[in-house]
Symmetry: D2
Subunit: 337 residues, 4 copies
């Protein structure tokens, strides 16, 4: 941590900041510049969360040197984390595709879609039983009935299940059905929910908040891991920018940035990012070439009847075609699909 | 709702969209342009949430004409909503100031601060017992013990209490202490929490999400009102932009926009927006002159010991000075303080 | 400047960075932390612009401590700059209002509008003879004919003139008519144009780029001042964010931030920021209460015929009303209008 | 164009808007909804740029249906534009790589770098003789001497040259050396400069402004094409968002969006977007898989001595390695390199 004193800070103010840092257990290194003095402080940054150096007289700003996350970062763990879901390994050489409808509407359509995505090569089946919707008048999901339909589809196809939880009160219920628990973008900083899924043993798919920095996203992962659950899969799904041509702006550079800063696997959701099925194909290819460990893609056998997000769903035949075209891209970057 | 057909849409595609709209109960008005055809559809937009016109062949885009909110908007209710909290009326001619520390740390300091803000003219006392913190290692609040301290301060000062709830499981508890329940920025789209506070009779202070559009914010209010609780106070607290000179960018124009679109009162939080106490004074004055119905300001008697956000807290003497300076500004725009 | 070495940097890499800094004339202060080493470097940051420390092996990042601007900042000049335009003083106690149409369309309407804004209390007349327009098919301005019309209006009313230049080749021409030369938001980083106006003696109104940080804006001012022209008036006119309810988001906190970092005066343009005349009134009041040194407001006697931006123009009678209402706000914060 | 009347618009107001539209030569189709009336207007949108319907009493908003660009869009020209630069064809099946240093510093290093990028497979050589720099104290380019060095490198290697122009006064000079004239991000809305390069016959590389929407970017291309120069290559180089882990956020979805809306070729600049050489490799692969027609990559033989942007430059050996790895990615999506 660097403490930057302002231009007019007095000797007394500088001494008093240094003294406080020493009291907190830091080692200090003042550097007197031509205009300003700065103080280098060596010690555990977490101690500073609970004491305010920044409001002391004469202090201009604090510059952190160490990352605020420990367990999600590479400082303590260098090897990539591979999240295993039965025989599926997310973060290993194989690019894993998760697919399925946004919401679960009825068993027949859902199981039918599940069979199609399985046949095309998907390893994990997605589906929403609890839906966070911007409008209170929109379809909110079938809740436990939806989870039961998912379980049926798993039985029929052997696919693993990923589904979202939106309320701390439902975590046990969702965990009892899901193979991977999803935390949606809107709940990325619902810290109580993060803690709750951190106390379960199920892998967590942690979507990036629509305006979360990568650092905040890794801090959200830190919440989960620090409760004892190391199996976090990060999911980039587009961030909010000024551009309106797409629903959100996919942050493709998040893939190499996460690989640089963290050991956790990262998958990409081109469907929610783009908001239209037309752009799913190029973005899916781009994500794999950029180094994503997997994809999560909306597929619906009757998108024009979909109770939510039909516009961004692929029909099964397009998904099959896409899966065929993704394979050479994966091979071109030394991975398999 | 306007349905824009793309340039190459066939007669059959256009007819088929029109037919679907008619089946859904809409009246339709096709307009054939030189290049594109559009279809005007008259009816309840909410019906369209559950049926996907947008994925039908030949459809380019949908343009909504009506606002998605009903209860939070002015279509059905023109008169301003005045939220009464005992004898305090938010949204009336008087500008209401809420003040107090970010988090509650100990009874002595808290009650002392409460007395000071009361003496300076604040009507409502703020304080956090449950804190949403970016880092799992940061102080998370005293929970029920904090609420008890708040209740003591209310007894001593007569101030009303506003405090945040972050978990659906705590709503009953928080509601049993608070006079106003706060929904924080990070939970603005925690729809389950919105529904839960909608089922209580306590007024709600609804902070704008850091990247929420004003429309999404009003939709969040709609969630609360549609559950039966009409007493929503909107709170602008800064949005996330590219600018880093302030913690967030206060969206001052949200005040007149909300006044144009909604009947709900709006207050401003300059402390969280700016992230530093130095800018609280000018922004507080600016907010009142722009038409805010109130302010929520962080005040702490020992900001350099504050367990969170000390940097953005005013010391009581500065707050007293600010309150004196705010009065002429309120009078200048025809209001009292 | 702080050089942060990465976790795995070798002793040789650290030594070699230190040696390079010393060669460049810096004094160095290495601090060896538990995990990382950092090097404090004392010297003129500008030297580093031309040598890349950041690509040396083992370097993680550079953290600047000093501001990159010298002449626009407060380090060398503490007293506020007052820009004098004849007898008008921008940056002094009086709040200065600039008003007039966006573009100049014909002499009669323009002179008529000029008389009305003069009568209402404006001190400076705005008008565009060279218009930067997003569409090549939109009205691009009357060019020199427009400047002549402005000169006529100055003769008739005695108002000073502010008008925009968009091409280095036109600076002499525009300077020969204008009292204040405007650099528009789209040209804030047209560095050649900045240098050119820096070589004239006319005051410059420097609008903030729609996505410029305050630091970049002050660097643009630095370009002008470093060519010898100290008379820069900063103008906040809204930044680009995700919010679409207003044309741009007015960054009201830019006012106190600029006052903190710079000695230059700052005025606010509520018309371009809001994009609609309805919000000009509250934002103008808010700007003055927040501490702006002036306002620039679009006024047009026939906004429904305006060749550009009619929607954001006030009619003269509303402007007169607004001027009356602004006065008590200015008084409330210790200024006059 | 759809004109949305507000809820309280009177019959007279609606009639008067309709009459005005008819006077302007539009055909009108009013649709009377339950709450609001809208008026569909068929005609040339460009006529409306010069007349303000939006300020007429009772008008709430205008909704454009047609795109504002004609020549840059697909309405009039469906086939992809292939920009030919000698024997190099940008926009055809082959992915074209442009490479070289950011700025030209001396002949020896530049020619050496040119030879290396040629050997590795680049077709076009980049280099800046006129540099737009945020700081007036930073290296501003060698100007004509830099262009002469570029010409020498062309002679030696046979590579085509792309270089930036930043001032209308230099367009003739730059055009006399360059094979492709670059318009940088900061000048994307320097409309005078766009017109000037539109009057030359040289192809133009048009970088996207850091906060420009795709629509604004295509409007900038429209400026160039409408002056008679159809040879525009679009270049995505990252947009400004709240994320600070990368210098800018590469908008990878701009590739399919541009392919959907325009016939112009699009290339990607991973170096400026990422701001660090470490992320150039994955983003370059991702761009090709997503469908980019080319790449522009910074390569410098001595990046630690580079006078600007050394941090984002690849050394030649890394560039050679990257070119080898890009080939299978291009093949995987049916293109060659």
């Amino acid at each position: 941590m660097i403490i930057v004193m302002n231009q007019n800070a007095t000797k007394e103010q500088i001494d008093s900041v240094e003294k406080k840092l020493l009291d907190l257990g830091f080692k200090t290194h003042p550097i007197v510049g031509d205009v300003k003095t700065i103080i280098g402080a060596i010690g555990d940054r977490r101690l500073l969360n609970t004491h305010s150096i920044s409001t002391m007289p004469g202090v201009e700003s604090l510059v952190p040197i160490m990352k605020p996350y420990k367990l999600a970062g590479k400082e303590l763990k260098h090897d990539p984390t591979i999240v295993t879901v039965g025989d599926v390994r997310v973060g290993d050489n194989e690019v894993i595709v998760m697919a399925g409808p946004c919401a679960i509407e009825n068993e027949e359509i859902y199981v039918e879609t599940a069979k199609r995505v399985k046949a095309a090569g998907a390893k994990i089946l997605r589906g929403g039983a609890f839906k966070p919707r911007t409008s209170p008048y929109a379809f909110q999901g079938l809740e436990e009935d939806g989870l039961k339909i998912m379980a049926t589809a798993r039985e029929v196809t052997g696919l693993k299940l990923v589904t979202e939880v939106v309320d701390t009160r439902d975590v046990d219920l969702v965990a009892s059905y899901a193979d991977i628990i999803q935390i949606g973008a809107r709940n990325m900083q619902n810290f109580r929910l993060l803690k709750e899924v951190g106390m379960h043993k199920k892998p967590v798919l942690l979507k990036r908040g629509v305006s979360a920095t990568i650092e905040e996203w890794l801090m959200a992962a830190e919440y989960i891991i620090s409760e004892g659950n190391p199996d976090v899969i990060l999911c980039e799904r587009g961030i909010r920018t000024f551009e309106t041509a797409t629903r959100n702006t996919i942050d493709m550079s998040a893939i190499p940035v996460v690989k640089e800063l963290s050991h956790l696997p990262i998958v990409l959701d081109p469907s929610h990012a783009a908001g239209t099925w037309k752009y799913v194909d190029p973005l899916a290819k781009g994500a794999i070439a950029t180094g994503a460990d997997g994809l999560i893609i909306e597929v619906h056998s009757q998108p024009d009847c979909a109770l939510c997000d039909g516009q961004q769903s692929l029909i099964p035949s397009r998904f099959e075609q896409l899966m065929k075209e993704l394979e050479p891209v994966a091979l071109a970057v030394g991975r398999k699909l």
